[in-house]
């Protein structure tokens, strides 16, 4: 395992890496990192919403709550985010979280809307 691997702590603020693009797919999304050219997949639309919404919430934990991830599935989602952190698809955020009142689950709800096509 590379020593550069980023440990994932869900109690910290995270965001989709700046050099990463998400492409919506029927089952979730394709994730592409323009820097290391790695390709990955998000296998559920909720996970796509979580990744998109990370930057809008003070912590990854808060994002999972806001996106309505059921308690029973939390572990699976944390593991998925940890995998994404390890492959640099998401990165630790140093900027201050947005104001609490902007914290609405809107980021999620929007992502759940059908994509324009």
């Amino acid at each position: 395992m590379p020593t550069t691997a980023v440990a994932f702590d869900p109690s910290l603020p995270w965001q989709k890496a700046r050099s990463v693009a998400l492409r919506p797919e029927p089952f979730g999304a394709l994730v592409y990192h323009f820097g290391n050219r790695k390709l990955s997949f998000l296998k559920s639309r909720t996970l796509v919403a979580v990744v998109e919404a990370l930057a809008e919430h003070p912590t990854a934990d808060a994002t999972l709550t806001a996106c309505g991830v059921p308690e029973a599935q939390r572990g699976t989602y944390v593991k998925a985010l940890a995998d994404l952190a390890r492959s640099n698809m998401i990165e630790a955020r140093t900027s201050l979280p947005p104001a609490t009142r902007r914290l609405a689950a809107d980021a999620c709800r929007q992502a759940d809307q059908p994509e324009d096509s």
């Binding site: 693009a21 492409r23 029927p26 089952f27 394709l30 592409y32 323009f34 050219r37 296998k43």
Partner: protein, 407 residues
Amino acid sequence: MTAVLPERPARPIGGRLVDQFEYGLDAPICLTWELTYACNLACVHCLSSSGRRDPRELSTAEAEAVIDELQRMQVFYVNVGGGEPTVRPDFWHLLDYAIGHDVGVKFSTNGIKLDKDRAEQLARTDYVDVQISLDGATAEVNDRVRGTGSFATAVRALENLAEAGMRDVKVSVVVTRENAGQLDEFKALTDRYGAQLRITRFRPSGRGADVWDRLHPTQAQQRELYAWLLANGEQVLTGDSFFHLSALGEALPGLNLCGAGRVVCLIDPVGDVYACPFAIHENFLAGNVRDEGGFQRVWQSSELFADLRSPQTGGACTKCAHFDACRGGCMAAKFFTGLPLDGPDPECVQGYGETALAARDKELATPRSSVDHSHTGPVRGRPTLLGIPAIPAKLCDESPLAGADLG
């Protein structure tokens, strides 16, 4: 309207990615774009029967429009090939244009244009990958199929790229009966230039059909290849092209699935969209990027691709214990050897392919592509696999007195 369409199975929710991929994606993951049919070489096994430029090839403006569309569809990179793509005068412009539009380029070349200047230019360019084709780890093995001097050209290109500091260069090898025993040598050669080895499966496509019987690896070689891939797979790229070998036991890394029309397709030099780079045949032609709606319409709405985007449910292979591992193998390999698409791959490692090949109706000709741009005149350094062409070395050799000692 929908009532008259044949019913197609609905995509499952959740589950394995490989099962999702069977139903296709909104845009390809792996798009091959052949920029020209023109090529300075005349490789005996050319998958696209390239040689001469086609006058209908996409113009610079049309190619730019395709790139614009790929950017909109978020196709993050394309595999550019040909023919020899670098002989297109606007190749370097299109390369920059694609990169400038978030479409990364990985291009395959025989190295003919990669002099020191171009090597330095590439080393300075972010988001480009170079893949040098080589089908023998020695000039002797390589040049028999790719042409005299082609090994030297490829090695010179590798030297230039290494000298310029270009990173992650790939050496792309089609595994044949003649080079299957050279895998370690290929690895050593690529290591020497700090490059990465990429090996892919030889298919009976294009001129490959003419030499498939003599060049496709034997069953014993396939087993050795499988063992080699299990031992070295992590450091070697394969384009996931050897998934038919997974039926030997442990699944090979990557996507073990035929991606044709599902996650993969080909845009050929004249803009025709085929299900896969190895399937240049009217049966697998989905449309043309010049059609109304462009590439996106072809990818998302063509009847052919819709047909390909469902799991195989019938045919002999679905009853096989190894079906989940190999998924019936390569569509193009079956098609161009005259086998049914829902039956075994001609190189089925369980031996069903050989049985199927033997049971073929000898009266029926195997399907051939009508798309052929092979050189018709003499080519410098023509490959010798099929024998030395009957072109006299010197005109006077034809004279009845040539060589006669008249002294």
